[in-house]
Amino acid sequence: MIKVQNLAKLFGTKRAVDDVSFSVNRGEVLGFLGPNGAGKSTTMRVITGFLPPSAGSVTVGGFDVVEHAIQARRLIGYLPENAPAYTDMTVLGFLNFAAEIRGLRGEARKQAVGRAVEMCFLESVLHQSVETLSKGYRHRTCFAQSIIHDPDVLVLDEPTDGLDPNQKHEVRQLIRRMGEKKAIIFSTHILEEVDAACTRAIIIDRGKIVANGTPQELRQKSEWAGAVTLRVRNVAAGTVSTRLYQVPQVKRVTVVEDKDGHVTVRAFPRSGANGALVAAVGEAAREWQIEQLQAEEGRLDEVFRSITMPDTAKEAA
């Protein structure tokens, strides 16, 4: 549904987005990750037709967003960053306006507004002015606006920003559910959301795509993928790490904690040794009193850090 090809966007001489290509099909939820200023919002603004691309092209449902802007926009629901909404209107008035400008009239409009209100839990503030809404409710109002015409494509810029934990959960569920029938792209700084809602994720840094894959694939890029955490009692930390270094599959050992005779160490596998490490470490630690022996999954936050800040990620691990 969304096809981005060699997209570049320049502000003056600054390349906010630099040669980005990806596509999102129906049934996919694409998570858009990246540090502040990476170019996520800019990319979304080009997809929704707010900003014209400097180079490259974007099509939505086969329509070029510049050449056939109106047809492309009909297919899109858009939640801009910071969820702007007309402060001089009531929530109901705003949603009615959004529905009407999407070409919904009469009974169809009523139904569309009712459905969006229900999905975003807005009944209690329907007649309140947008100006006096709390941030979370304003966010939900703008979100309701984006789904009011049941679009095929949803572009959501930080949809869970400012929501309480319950609402965050609801919105993730909603995105996941809607994602079965739509093409959704959403940006976030909350990495759990990638697991909770995405079928695929892209990490973008300084305008370029630096990783693209399923959450599982991204996790595999982590140093942590296949690492083993071992906790033993009454053994010196030095002894433990010396012994573990002798295990052929182990690449590196770090001491996590050494306190009151309890030692926790983490062994990282050499590449290609995934899976086999738990058994090997267990074998090496046979004679000690093992309190914990655990294989780690890859951690997205660590992948994120190592990709977007390669210099400092090592120290943090």
Binding site: L10, T48, F50, L51, I70, P84, D88, M89, I101
Partner: protein, 247 residues
């Protein structure tokens, strides 16, 4: 007529926005007070022994509008940019033109309402004498067109900035220029300094073109002048909005 439906949707929203804020009521009240005060006291309505509205009432309109129209138009785009709703508006399935025309129309209708509410003045003059109501109607039309020209200029300045105050000041200055270009004292000076420029300069003035309407003459050139100021200004607005986004 999908296009007009879109324009009308925008217009309705904007009109609604005027009346949820106190500014609209304040504007109308000030306008009516000014009209009443200047017509009956400053304009010497009662001293003139003629039942005519034209001089004492309509003569002041270019000056009232100088302050009031920029105040009406300043929020059109500046507010939209400040709050960020422009990103919603311009990603809806409508063209930028439809949005621009819709917003302009809303403000223009609002000014029409303010103008229409001056009807007691017309009633008074009809009660006191026997004026030529045709002339009054023509002058009203001219006044509304002039307000539209000011308003279109305010659209430009509003699109130029996020700040309503800045927008107000710039459009006031531009509109002042359009008045002064046809203001008798200025023309007198100009006649002495550069007599050959007089015709050119005055042809840009709203005063010159409003004059005809006040006499009850519907000259197509005057009509064309106001309509082209409006058209050109709205076009400029669209160019400005586009360049903002081009980055």
């Amino acid at each position: 007529m999908n296009a007009w439906h879109n324009v009308w949707t925008i217009t309705k929203r904007e009109l609604g926005a005027y009346f949820t804020a106190p500014l609209a009521y304040v504007f109308i009240v000030i306008f009516l007070l000014l009209c009443g005060f200047f017509t009956f006291f400053v304009g010497g309505f009662f001293e003139r022994q003629e039942a005519s509205l034209v001089r004492p009432f309509f003569d002041w309109h270019p000056w009232f509008y100088l302050f009031l129209v920029p105040a009406v138009g300043m929020r059109l785009w500046a507010e939209e940019r400040r709050v960020g709703t422009i990103e919603l508006l311009l990603t809806m399935p409508i063209t930028a033109w439809q949005a621009i025309v819709g917003k302009f129309l809303a403000s223009w209708l609002f000014l029409a309402l303010a103008l229409a509410l001056t009807f007691p003045v017309v009633l008074t003059v009809n009660y006191l004498g026997d004026p030529d109501n045709g002339v009054i109607l023509t002058a009203y039309i001219g006044s509304w067109l002039m307000a539209g020209a000011y308003l279109a200029i305010s659209c430009i300045t509003s699109a130029l900035t996020r700040s309503q105050v800045v927008s107000f000041i710039i459009s006031l200055v531009v509109c002042l220029f359009l008045i002064l270009a046809g203001f008798p004292p200025v023309i007198n000076v100009l006649e002495q300094v550069a007599p050959r420029l007089v015709d050119l300069v005055t042809s840009f003035s709203v005063m010159t073109h409003f004059e005809g309407f006040q006499k009850g003459v519907l000259d197509s050139r005057d009509l064309l002048f106001f309509l082209s100021v409006i058209g050109f200004s709205l076009f400029t607005t669209s160019v400005i909005l586009r360049t903002h986004r081009a980055g």
